[in-house]
């Protein structure tokens, strides 16, 4: 390994580490999660083993025989010889004898009842709540509602209950509270009508916004191109700000513009137009503003890129065109536009991907409303996995949504490799030693 190799790898390694940690690993994890049923209920980091009351009715469907289910059900707490012996060992024979006298042979449905029974001890009462709870626990004969951290502990417990070995595997599987591997997410995506709508929304969003971005960016670049420098700069500044203003603030401005008591409503009121929430009145309204909000951000990028490539076109060409009698529109149509094919192509391809995966502005503006009409795919992924009113975060399903975008992202960026003229990019360094 020569010095250049060492230096190259050394220079690359900090960035490489960051990329591996926060790109590569997450991509792999996303793929894995997409094949799981991970959610708030299952937790992320693995689960424990528990049979709850409501699980009992699910067990037959999971392949556990009725006899086994019945063994699991039944009374929870029992005062009988073996449990009393345990109690005696911890809390003394005298208490055990008194309890046997009071409740010997009794069984209780829940711990609360068991605790009440323990309170009946008069001669040497257990005063501390914690101790009484610990004592009640000694009489537990059911495993319902108990969590076992490992499979081994759970199997031991059900074996102790006498569950036949034939049922143990199915029961253990059903008792696991963590996530498991499944392809259900994809079936679900396929079946849900909403999925298709989100995909359609995404397509609509990308196409409309992109058209606005490119068209408007081009218009801004061309029109400011012909203006005196100062005037052009002013307009460029106006259109550049949306790009660098924090999204939270930028969307707030739009909300102020559009809400019932906002600017548009106030302006139109004297004309007899009832104030409405212009951003959320109908799906069309919402789409219009989604496109405008995102479009104004995107158009600035187009404007700047196009402006700089316009500046690169030699002025003499325009003089020549003027001499040839071309008016401005003809200059634009026949001289300028044909030379901007490459930047237009770049903006289009680059923004397709970023629009496809961006949802920040939509989240802040309409949050997908009204009626899921502006819920795009990426936002659906975010909502499903990380944010919904119900608080039930479905990481697995969300990852499946995200996976679709990841795959599209990889495919599209592979395509861009061709656009970006990869051969030139990887031209060998000219110093060889």
């Amino acid at each position: 390994m020569n010095r250049q190799t060492l230096l190259g790898l050394g220079f690359l390694s900090p960035a490489l580490l960051a990329v591996v940690m926060f790109f590569l690993l997450p991509v792999v994890l996303t793929v894995v999660f997409a094949f799981t049923n991970m959610s708030t209920s299952t937790g992320i980091l693995g689960g424990e083993y528990q049979i709850s009351e409501s699980d009992l009715r699910r067990l037959p469907a999971a392949g556990v025989r009725e006899e086994a289910v019945e063994m699991l059900a039944g009374a929870d707490y029992a005062v009988r010889a073996d449990t009393l012996a345990l109690f005696a060992a911890e809390f003394g024979d005298k208490r055990a004898q008194e309890l046997e006298a009071l409740h010997g042979g009794a069984s209780f449905d829940d711990r609360r009842a068991m605790e009440r029974a323990l309170k009946d001890l008069r001669r040497d009462p257990i005063r501390s709540v914690r101790e009484r709870k610990a004592a009640a626990e000694l009489f537990r004969i059911s495993i319902l509602g108990q969590r076992f951290p490992t499979e081994a502990a759970f199997v031991e417990a059900i074996t102790a209950l006498g569950i036949p070995e034939a049922d143990q595997a199915a029961l253990t599987e059903a008792a696991y509270t963590g996530w498991t591997f499944t392809t259900q997410n994809f079936e679900l995506l396929w079946e849900l009508p909403a999925t298709w709508r989100y995909a359609l929304n995404s397509a609509l969003y990308v196409v409309l916004t992109l058209a606005f971005n490119v068209g408007f960016g081009l218009f801004l670049a061309l029109s400011t191109f012909y203006l005196p420098t100062r005037t052009a700069q002013t307009f460029r500044a106006i259109w550049f700000l949306p790009r660098i203003l924090p999204p939270v603030l930028y969307v707030l401005m739009w909300q102020w513009l559009t809400w019932d008591q906002g600017f548009i409503s106030a302006i139109l009121r004297p004309f007899g137009i009832e104030p409405i929430n212009w951003m959320r009145h109908t799906a069309t309204h919402a789409w219009t503003f989604i496109v405008l909000i995102n479009g104004c951000v995107g158009a600035s990028l187009g404007m700047i890129l196009f402006s700089s490539s316009l500046r690169a076109i030699p002025e003499t060409q325009l003089f020549a065109a003027q001499v040839d009698g071309a008016n401005r529109w003809q200059q634009v149509r026949f001289v300028l536009l044909p030379q901007m094919r490459w930047p237009i192509l770049f903006i289009t391809s680059y923004q397709t991907l970023s629009l496809l995966t961006s949802f920040e502005y939509i989240l802040l503006a309409t949050d997908g409303g009204p009626g899921r009409q502006t819920e795009v795919w990426a936002l659906a992924a975010y909502h499903t996995a990380l944010s919904n009113y119900g608080g039930n975060l479905e990481y697995g399903l969300g990852a499946a949504y995200a996976l679709a975008l990841v795959i599209i992202g990889i495919l599209l960026s592979a395509l861009y490799l061709r656009f970006f003229n990869f051969r030139d990019l990887v031209a060998k360094p000219r110093i060889e030693q």
């Binding site: 010095r3 060998k428 000219r430 110093i431 060889e432 030693q433």
Partner: protein, 347 residues
């Protein structure tokens, strides 16, 4: 310092650019690598400088094998076509950089930079930044920087390409002067035959990664080793005429006697420089029709189209009375014609 490049081979990926080339440059000699772009002359230069790895063969400076040395360790100074001055450094810092790398004391750097600046005559510019200099001044700074650490070899990569015509003339002699004064072994890469001929002791004419001929400028002009060499040197260029050698050289209605000592049979190519053809010479005649006259002041260039459609060019002193369309029967200086076989090798 003598440079000995032996069996040099260079590949970029799968394409072999230079194969099995040898070149030796005597100590204190200045040699030109001349050729059209893409002939491998810059590649050879970069291989000697160490920037390109040598894929096959060896390179010796004197007795020292430098084939595997990185460029940092080779006693070589390079002047690049665009001078590659460091834009953020002043002239003095630019020239002093190689010394700073060698960790010399600031005082010594200063004195050597001053010395070098005097040598290239830019002593008054030391505080300027490169962008404040004219092309010729930048050139001088680049030379000074290349020479300051007293390298054994000076490599010049198209050093005059970025200068205007007048400066080019001036720098031509300036570089030659510096090379002579320092006695350094120098290699000049150029595609300009005049530069090569006027500045160098010897010229290596390259084609497709090979050295076509290596000799002094006069020798190369007088006795080109191949049709290619003959065609490359000379302005206005040499004219070629296809002829059939059968005891004499026949082409169309014209024929020339075979020069003495040359035995040839079958198709050959005659090379005839314009200055050896015209009404003012002694020798056998060739007739044709004047098809073009280009006045040059002191003399005129006149194209003569032969009956078989081939064309010869002549330099005729001004004041002649030749008219366009006129049929002429002009002499050829037979001792100066060059004969090449069908493959282009000199006969």
């Amino acid at each position: 310092m003598r440079i000995e490049l032996q069996n040099f081979t260079k590949r970029f990926g799968d394409t072999t650019v230079i194969e099995d080339m040898s070149l030796s440059v005597a100590s204190g000699e200045m040699i030109a690598l001349l050729g059209p772009s893409g002939c491998g002359k810059s590649t050879t230069l970069f291989a000697i400088s160490g920037i390109h790895r040598i894929d096959g063969g060896t390179l010796h400076f004197g007795d020292r094998d430098v084939t595997r040395l990185p460029p940092q360790d080779r006693p070589v100074g390079v002047v690049f076509q665009n001078y590659a001055l460091y834009p953020h450094m002043s002239v003095a810092e630019n020239i002093g950089f190689p010394l700073r790398v060698q960790k010399l004391k600031p005082a010594e750097i200063k004195s050597r930079v001053g010395e070098m600046a005097e040598l290239v005559q830019i002593g008054n510019l030391l505080k300027r930044k490169p962008q404040q200099l004219s092309g010729g001044q930048q050139q001088r700074v680049a030379l000074a920087r290349a020479l300051v650490r007293k390298p054994d070899v000076l490599l010049l990569d198209e050093p005059l390409a970025n200068l205007d015509a007048k400066l080019r003339l001036e720098m031509r002699s300036e570089i030659r002067r510096l090379q002579r004064e320092t006695g350094i072994t120098a290699i000049l890469v150029t595609h300009d035959q005049i530069e090569a001929m006027s500045m160098c002791d010897r010229i290596a004419l390259m084609k497709d990664g090979r050295i076509e001929q290596i000799s002094t400028p006069a020798e190369m002009y007088e006795r080109p080793a191949s049709r290619y060499v003959a065609g490359f040197l000379g302005n206005p260029p040499i004219s070629f005429v296809n002829a059939d050698a059968n005891g004499r050289l026949a082409f169309g209605d014209n024929a020339l006697p075979l020069p003495s000592g040359i035995a040839a049979q079958g198709p050959v190519v005659i090379g005839l420089r314009p200055e050896h053809f015209g009404p003012q010479h002694q020798g056998p005649c060739v007739s044709g029709q004047v098809s073009f006259i280009e006045p040059q002041g002191r003399e005129d260039l006149i194209d003569v189209t032969l009956p078989d459609g081939q064309r010869l060019r002549a330099i005729v002193p001004a004041g002649h009375d030749v008219a366009l369309g006129q049929t002429v029967n002009w002499q050829v200086d037979l001792s100066r014609i060059h004969l090449f076989d069908a493959e282009g090798a000199r006969l």
